[in-house]
């Protein structure tokens, strides 16, 4: 078993040892599996049955139907795919751009640090939702545009966290030793410092997932997210709020799923942060054999 796999399993075991993080993990795993294998389920998120519009939860439609007679459960499940895909893509964009920026700024310092950090400050100064809306206005309304817009808003957080981590490691003996043995700057950044900076970056990945899901939902809620008929939790909230009197389940059920997903990412991020920083109160104390294995 590789060291990485062993470490991952160990972290998972520790997370599962805490009720909160175990529930969050199970919920997110279920949502992810449903999103990935939604095509194999007997659910159709776009099939309309106008005569069946706004019917309450029943044996046939567990979450009821929307104004076009579509199955809300199917739209929630396929909406998970939209949310997770946007979150995954956005986090990837943010990490792939933000981490190198932070690495270079922290490692070299000087004018490069100043220039890159001022660029990051500019990004940070723009309200995320406004910036995302402006991006969508330029790129047009599509899932790809939402993904890019949300991703760009996440760059500053990765850049700043990575830079902070690099600054603490930059003067450490093992980095100086590599330099003394002729290690290039690129080698030092990517092979020496980056592998020792993964913990906060990984925590940020989890945290940004929840932010990205929320931002995507907000964009859809404002009517500039994924275009219909593609299901999206935010779009369901937007339409569902108009039917709160006649069909409260329409907005409430997708809202609950959205809330639980964000809450789960948050709980998981918090637990991971404590675990990776070595805080013993983050999750229940590991058993002795887990520590020594």
């Amino acid at each position: 078993m590789s060291r990485f796999l062993r470490k991952t399993l160990s972290i998972l075991a520790r997370l599962m040892a805490s009720k909160g993080s175990a529930l969050a993990l199970i919920f997110l795993a279920t949502i992810t599996l449903l999103a990935v294998f939604a095509d194999f389920l007997p659910l159709n998120p776009v099939a309309q049955k106008l005569a069946n519009a706004l019917k309450g939860p029943s044996a046939t439609n567990w979450f009821g139907t929307d104004e076009l007679g579509r199955d809300i459960l199917a739209r929630v499940v396929f909406g998970a795919r939209t949310s997770l895909l946007t979150a995954g893509g956005a986090v990837a964009i943010a990490a792939l751009a933000g981490v190198p920026i932070g690495l270079v700024a922290g490692f070299f310092g000087g004018w490069r640090d100043a220039a890159l950090m001022r660029f990051v400050d500019v990004l940070l100064a723009l309200p995320a939702i406004l910036f995302a809306m402006a991006m969508i206005a330029v790129l047009g309304r599509s899932q790809a545009a939402a993904l890019i817009a949300v991703g760009l808003t996440g760059i500053p957080s990765f850049a700043r966290i990575t830079r902070a981590q690099v600054l603490t490691l930059r003067k450490r003996d093992f980095v100086t030793a590599v330099e003394a043995f002729g290690g290039t700057a690129t080698y030092n950044m990517f092979r020496t410092i980056l592998p020792n900076s993964w913990s906060p970056i990984f925590v940020q990945v989890v945290v940004l997932c929840s932010v990205a899901i929320l931002l995507e939902a907000a964009l859809s809620f404002l009517g500039v997210g994924v275009p219909p008929p593609t299901p999206s939790w935010g779009e369901m909230l937007r339409t569902g709020k108009s039917y709160l009197h006649e069909a409260p389940y329409y907005a409430v059920l997708p809202g609950i799923v959205l809330t639980l997903t964000i809450l789960s990412f948050d709980v998981l991020g918090r637990a991971l942060s404590g675990l990776l920083e070595g805080r013993r109160d983050a999750v229940v104390a590991p058993k002795a054999e887990e520590v020594t294995s």
């Binding site: 309309q48 104004e67 309304r141 009517g223 275009p227 008929p229």
Partner: protein, 521 residues
């Protein structure tokens, strides 16, 4: 239990008040508020919720967002009753020449503008000059196409001459559409109202609302009843409904059909006017597959009109295959039956178009994202297309972005409402997609000359009745054959939902909001 009891009590109270209200509830009928009832109504401040801010104060920019103001700041030369009968307003009389080539209008002599100046024929002449100007005439410009010139023999008389004999209904339509603006205020009318209406503008907070105060010199005796009218802009229909239910406002103007149905069930008064809009699927026949007549005609059968009306407008309206309301002289219910929902027939026509599947799918449907019914209708149409193998994308745009594309004709196809569907048939040409000249979508020269000819034939046939009917029938047939616009259903614009303690609600032929007769019981 207590809540249930209170609810029942409240409903009983509402029912009693509603039964004594001087207007019909739910559009079951109409009666003008009697003088005695008006006298019994009390004044006060009428708090009205609207769902959008106005564009400006020009009454010739006859847009639905201005509907709550026009008939409160201004008056027309004549009015129509809800049944379509012309009655005096600022004009006391109008005499149509035997050859139908001119009309002489006599004005009231006791009318003043908000500035205090007296209304004269010079003001009407200045208004007509603005209307006849292609740049300044806005929505009235198309109606002025029949007018040759006008003269003002004295202060109270204006004679309007026509280019050719004009049917009587078209003449009264013109007079009803003529809203005098004070001549000296005509250049600034977009920012400063210059009318004779029952209310004066007191203040306006852009995007939030405005307040009107009663015109002390108003010419209709005993009106207006309410001393002030406060308009508050709500961004959400549901918020406006909630405000009405909580008693924070007295009336919602222009809310959704769905909310109206729900509030009517809860005991509020719902007033449906005689001037509905017709939702129309507009196709740009100068672009892509829409250049093909068979492809366009297929949409007559593709649309599940019944389902669209039910889902989009809570069933409040009528399914239609022609752009007419029942009050229109060209209305023909038979077309509704002929062009029923029939996917097989639609499929046959799509196949008969000779277009490849790729060509048939090579377009986008522009959608007005702020308009819930438009989003719903577009998705129903998209789903019906997908069912027969035509997969298209929706291009959802919000607010001004949509309006700009729609008015500039920058789209392949879109749903959009048309008005003036209860008047003389050629008035439909005031709507952008139906314009015969300077059509922003279809451009000049008009790609469907047979439609232009049909409108001209209607405009120039003033009798006998059989000839007039033949002209209407011809126009109807041309409309479904050219199919550059496929009507879906009529629906209520300017719906009024009022608290049970309001009385004197009156209907306008165009469903504009008339506050002057409204008071508290």
């Amino acid at each position: 239990m207590k809540t249930q009891f209170l609810r029942t009590l409240r409903r009983l109270g509402f029912l009693f008040l509603a039964a004594t209200a001087p207007v019909a509830i739910g559009g079951a009928g109409w009666s003008a508020p009697a003088q005695a009832e008006e006298a019994a109504l009390k004044g006060g401040t009428l708090r009205v919720a609207v769902l959008s801010d106005l564009t400006n104060f020009d009454p010739q920019q006859f847009s639905t967002v201005n509907f709550h103001l026009i008939k409160n700041l201004y008056d027309s030369l004549i009015e129509y009753t809800p049944e379509g009968e012309a009655v005096p307003s600022l004009a006391t009389a109008w005499t149509i020449a035997p050859d139908n080539q001119s009309v002489t209008v006599t004005l009231r002599d006791d009318v003043t503008f908000h500035s205090g100046a007296k209304l004269t024929s010079a003001d009407v002449a200045a208004t007509l000059a603005k209307a006849a100007d292609p740049e300044r005439g806005k929505n009235v410009y198309a109606t002025m196409s029949i007018v040759k010139d006008w003269a003002t023999p004295d202060d109270q008389t204006i004679a309007i001459n026509f280019k050719a004999p004009v049917p009587q209904r078209q003449i009264t339509d013109l007079l009803q559409f003529t809203i005098p603006i004070e001549a000296k205020g005509i250049d600034t009318v977009e920012t400063v109202p210059a009318g004779t209406g029952a209310y004066l503008l007191e203040s306006r907070a852009v995007g939030q609302g405005l307040t009107l105060k009663a015109n002390p010199n108003y010419w209709r005796k005993g009106q207006p009843i309410a001393e002030k009218v406060d308009f508050t802009i709500f961004s959400e229909d549901s918020s406006a409904s909630a405000a009405l239910e909580s008693g924070a406002i007295d009336l919602v103007y222009g809310g959704s059909s769905r909310s109206a149905v729900r509030l009517q069930d809860a005991g509020f008064q719902v007033l449906r006017g005689p001037g509905p809009l017709v939702q129309v699927f507009r196709m740009n026949s100068t672009r892509g597959p829409f250049q093909n007549a068979k492809f366009r005609q297929a949409f007559n059968y593709l649309m599940d009109r019944e389902g669209m009306l039910r889902v989009g407008y809570a069933g409040l309206g009528e399914v239609v295959a022609l752009p007419w309301a029942p009050a229109s002289p060209a209305y023909d219910a038979a077309y509704g039956a002929e062009f029923g929902y029939d996917l097989d027939k639609a499929k046959e026509l799509f196949a008969a178009s000779g277009l490849t599947p790729e060509e048939q799918s090579n377009w986008k449907m522009l959608v007005w994202g702020n308009d819930e019914p438009s989003v719903v209708l577009s998705q129903i149409a998209q789903s019906a297309l997908a069912e027969i193998g035509i997969n298209i994308e929706l291009d959802v745009r919000q607010g001004a972005e949509y309006t700009e594309a729609q008015l500039a004709g920058d789209y392949d196809a879109t749903f959009g409402a048309v008005g003036n569907v209860q008047k003389f048939p050629s008035r439909v040409a005031t709507n952008s997609i139906y314009r015969v000249v300077k059509n922003p979508v279809l451009k000049d020269p008009h790609p469907h000359p047979e439609y232009v000819d049909a409108i001209n034939r209607v405009n120039t046939t003033s009798g006998p009745d059989a000839d007039v009917k033949a002209a209407y029938d011809h126009l109807n047939r041309v409309l479904v054959e050219t199919s550059f616009a496929v009507p879906i259903n009529s629906y209520d614009t300017g719906l009024v939902v009022a608290a049970p303690n309001l009385g004197g609600l009156s209907l306008d032929i165009d469903n504009l909001f008339v506050a002057r007769t409204v008071g508290f019981q």
